[in-house]
Amino acid sequence: MGSAEKSVEATVNAVARDSYGRLLSYLAARCGDVELAEDSLGDAFLAALRTWPSRGVPERPEAWLLAAARNRLNDDARRIRVRQEHAERLAHAARDAAAIAETGEGFPDERLKLLFLCADPAIDPDIHTPLMLQVVLRIDAARIARAFLIKPAAMGQRLVRAKTKIRDAGVPFEVPALNELAPRLEAVMEAIYAAYSSGWEDAPGTDPGQARLTEEALWLARVLVELMPDEPEPRGLFALLLHCEARRSARRSSEGRYVPIAEQDPALWSVDLMREAERHLRAASAQQRLGRFQLEAAIQSVHAERARTGRIDRRAIALLYEGLVRTAPTLGALVGRAAATAEVDGPEAGLAMLEEIRGHPMEEHQPYWAVRAHLLAQAGRAGEARDAFARAIDLTDDDAVRVFLIERSEAVETDQR
């Protein structure tokens, strides 16, 4: 590959990173078919890779891509004769795309609509969040399958089935009326949080695809707050993400080593982001309707306090986790509570809580094994600790975290000799 091709490829990747979600939402909204919108946009990006090296990168790459996607939509509109109504919609979508390419006007950002579409009650609720992650945030199905602890093939099938239903049943593409927003909000927030966490795993920010995810998640959370300013939970979610974002540069040492939150240097935390987080959390709690994301944000808020007070209020954290488990007993919350309780009452108390967890797929859950390993090591149960560390290391994708766990595991072994 020549250097010209390489630089064009970099440009195409950058456009994909910045605009894919917006382009896809725009196309899907108009043709009513998520899968076809994905295919046509994929074709458009391929065409860009083919033609831009010789003809140069167009002045408005997004408009060019929409025009290219239009060709595919037109082809399909001609081919699908059986479904007349469908063909008309495709032709309409193609016309709209062409208009944008010609007039040079910007196109509306409809990512939020696409998120809410994925959470329509006519679609299997278990697939709402994975669908959003794959369709809107472009996280690949295998990775989503891992996060949701199901087999990749099964996840792939269910995603396809949901997209087929959207097309064939005519699921509407719109932000639902206010009274219908609430039931879908949960899945939308869960997807935004999962996207942020997924991007978050790449702490050094070396992977532009991952940086895109955290940015996109922050943007979506902000838009959600603007859409529903009187709903406390979106503000809670936004505050949570802002608190995490504030610590981005403190999460790795200058040598790239993983630094757990309690050992981070608070001077490296962003004061501006923490302030903004606190502002949203206050506005949320004024509504007096506590929820999962407000509690999660409050936990991060207690950690942030260390920047001011120099100490961690561990009892407050344990209490907030208790509230979190009562509101939303997810596996993550249960494991977090065990860790928080151990900080106050000792490792055996935390281990007892881990033992009590039932009905969750712990086998593949990295935090479960990491927390278990640390607590066993603290409790002096070296053999069991080593086994748990081995399991946690096995389940860790992040290199820095893996090194951290390996070192802790080795420290257990040396203590015993």
Partner: protein, 121 residues
Amino acid sequence: MKYSILIYQPDAYFNAAPDDELWGAWRAYHKSLSDAGVYLDSGALKRPATATTVRVQGERRLVQDGPFAETKEQLAGFIVVETPSLKEALDWAARCPAAQYGAVEVRPVQEIEQFVPVFSS
């Protein structure tokens, strides 16, 4: 009397488009229904996976992905005919192509005067 001929078929028949022979059989069946002057109305349904089921409990609307009942053979469409008696309706049902690969149910249509006429004949 008016009868509904309800067509049930196995999943495989929803997923594949009918071949030319089957299409031909359906077209011929519809033609003979109208030639005989018994045809009133009909409708074909998409796959059961495209179904959405709604229930209302008090103020709450419960919407569920999927058909009302998960059975091996699913409702695929209906034809409404007008015949002198059940005997003729059953004869027509037996000629329905779906009777060969699925099941066809015949039910008299309940006529309710207060309603706007559903089938104006």
